[in-house]
């Protein structure tokens, strides 16, 4: 009984995780990033509950309270229809995070899969085809590619995510490809190959678990970039359609009201900065743990 507890208490993966968490928690900036992200997700999930005027996230008009400056009733003021900016920001935040996650869900598995194949079958026709195909998608700026794809289909929230994902997966393919090449000469991979294990098992059980930390770091940093791209697309009217609030569109629609009604642009823009800041701090924190472990 006692012996089994000792055995149970030594779990190498758990120990490694504890060690990483210790290193992570020693850096106040990383912790700040993590808390910002947690608060943001909390706000996004309970947006409609927390919003003081949830009905303002849609098409509601209240001409008795248009263009009110920030006050206790309206923390971030009201817009030209008398809608509460703070409530709209919370709901916009929810959509921003949803798009970021959706893009990663669409782009990352596809990118990783191609990268694993191209890296494992190095110096074969498969590598050539996959890497040339990847290059093709990397040869024009991601924002332009995403916009072209979004307009080709229906201009909606879902297809703007698809557009960004199509522009985004090549970076994961390239990263995974480089990582696979760097570990494929490691002894454990060679032994696995020599012992005749199924290829799929080598790729998913031996290679993938050893490279995923770097991919995870990139995902955290990319959440920020994707949210910037998505809000830039909202800015010009691609993606989420009004009256549903999106942070980018909230900024662009109210530029014409500068400088008198500054709160209409400044607060949504600050929220975008806060989101991206959180994900970047978190990503840098994760990156620090990895690079220490690597050495």
């Amino acid at each position: 009984m006692k012996k089994s507890r000792v055995e149970k208490s030594f779990n190498p993966r758990l120990e490694a995780l504890k060690k990483s968490w210790y290193k992570f928690s020693r850096n106040p900036l990383s912790l700040l990033g993590l808390s910002v992200i947690m608060v943001i997700f909390f706000l996004a999930i309970f947006a409609t509950v927390l919003a003081p005027y949830p009905e303002d996230s849609g098409l509601s008009v209240n001409f008795t309270r248009t263009f009110q400056s920030p006050s206790r009733q309206h923390l971030a003021g009201t817009d030209e229809y008398g809608r509460d900016i703070f409530s709209r920001m919370l709901v916009g935040l929810r959509y921003s995070l949803a798009i970021g996650l959706l893009v990663l869900i669409l782009a990352v598995p596809f990118g990783i899969l191609l990268g694993l194949l191209a890296g494992y079958y190095k110096e074969t026709w498969l590598e050539t085809i996959v890497m040339r195909f990847t290059e093709l998608f990397m040869s024009i700026p991601p924002l332009i590619l995403a916009m072209v794809i979004c307009t080709m289909f229906t201009n909606s929230y879902f297809f703007s995510s698809v557009g960004i994902a199509v522009a985004w997966w090549p970076w994961y393919t390239r990263l995974t490809y480089n990582l696979v090449i760097s570990v494929s000469n490691e002894l454990y991979v060679l032994y696995a190959k020599l012992s005749g294990i199924n290829v799929l098992k080598i790729i998913f059980k031996e290679i993938l678990p050893n490279i995923y930390p770097s991919i995870l770091t990139k995902m955290s940093l990319d959440m920020g970039s994707i949210i910037i791209i998505a809000s830039s697309m909202n800015f010009v009217g691609l993606g989420i359609q009004p009256p549903t609030p999106s942070l980018g569109a909230m900024v662009s629609n109210s530029i014409s009201y500068l400088p008198e009604y500054w709160w209409l642009t400044v607060f949504p823009a600050l929220l975008v900065i806060l989101i991206v800041l959180g994900f970047n701090l978190l990503g840098d924190g994760l990156n620090d743990i990895m690079s220490v472990e690597g050495k």
């Binding site: 290059e135 332009i144 530029i255 500054w262």
Partner: protein, 338 residues
């Protein structure tokens, strides 16, 4: 030197192949779009006959491969990118009008990125772990996480509306007789009108700054870390012991090797400038290529979309090629892969 020519040649062929495949894919995609682009462009009031005529003029009634071949032939023989269904002009005329304006904006941004990024990175590295370093690092962190449109809006509010130092958007009128290159500033210079040039620079400052700040911040971070790597190198310590003056030490021995990573990143940043500019051009009402691209994309203008992706691809590829050549000049150990 011979190697460099070979590299350029091989890269150019490679770019060409990539662009050909890319444009074909986009053409194919456009044919898949539901709805008839010609009908959308001409509106519902126009008779079916006219639409049919236009369709056949633009080769929309022919198979995809033939339409593509016709389009390609137009480019190779006449530099003709087809007819824009959005502006109802040849796409090449639109490009000639708008592209120089965006290139000029990108040029000023590119200069700002290099000068300010390197300057901030160097200051930060030399005064490592002092308050100055921390300040620069804090600012560059904020710079990296702030989207360009937020910079645009904040600067417009602060410098345009509150302090009134800079105009809030648009561009000064330029005499059509002066137009030679299409770049407003350069045209003013060529005409010898320095007052106008100064005015144009004033209009360009806020858009160029908003466009470049992300990259400046990123560049400063990269340059700082590569400088710090070099400060600890053996050859620097040796030079210091040998009595090389500090200014010379920093400017020559530390700067030159530090430029290699800086330059590589710089290429990526500058290559992306044109693509990122559209939102800045919208905010500051600057009628450039990026804003034109945006309109073309939003209006599903088939020939326009193919042309702009083509142009973006070419600019991106040429910038990257130049950077690779520059890096190999800086460090002879990095051999050019031919």
């Amino acid at each position: 030197m011979r190697l460099a020519y070979l590299l350029v040649l091989k890269r150019l062929i490679h770019i060409l192949v990539v662009l050909l495949v890319l444009s074909f894919v986009i053409f194919a995609f456009i044919r898949l779009i539901p709805g008839d682009p010609v009908r959308i462009s001409l509106g519902p009031m126009v008779s079916e006959e006219t639409v049919q005529k236009m369709r056949s003029e633009l080769y929309f009634d022919r198979p995809l491969v033939i339409q593509y071949a016709h389009w390609l032939k137009g480019i190779v023989t006449k530099g003709d990118f087809g007819l824009s269904l959005y502006t109802h002009r040849p796409v090449s005329a639109d490009i000639a009008e708008y592209l120089p304006k965006s290139l000029e904006l990108a040029l000023y941004s590119g200069i700002m990125i290099l000068v300010m990024g390197v300057l901030l990175g160097t200051i930060s590295a030399i005064f490592k772990n002092t308050w100055l370093d921390n300040l620069v690092r804090f600012i560059s962190y904020l710079g990296v996480v702030t989207p360009p449109y937020a910079f645009g809006v904040f600067f417009m509010l602060l410098f345009g509306y509150i302090l009134k130092w800079f105009p809030i958007g648009g561009m000064p009128k330029i005499d059509p007789a002066m137009t030679r290159t299409g770049m407003l500033g350069l045209d003013a210079l060529l005409a010898g009108d320095f007052a106008l040039y100064g005015q144009i620079l004033k209009y360009m400052f806020l858009p160029a700054l908003s466009l470049s700040l992300n990259s400046i911040a990123y560049q400063a971070r990269i340059h700082r870390s590569s400088m710090i790597e070099n400060i600890n190198a053996d050859y620097i310590q040796f030079a210091e012991v040998a009595g090389v003056k500090r200014i010379r030490l920093i400017m020559k021995h530390m700067m030159k090797p530090s430029f290699i990573p800086t330059f590589t990143i710089y290429g990526l940043q500058v290559g992306a400038l044109l693509g990122n500019a559209f939102i800045i051009e919208v905010i500051f009402r600057y009628a450039g290529f990026s804003q034109y691209s945006l309109n073309v994309i939003m209006n599903k203008d088939p020939y326009g979309i193919v042309a702009i992706t083509f142009i973006f691809g070419i600019v991106f590829a040429i910038v990257n090629m130049l950077i690779d050549l520059g890096v190999s000049k800086l460090d002879p150990r990095i051999s050019l892969e031919v």
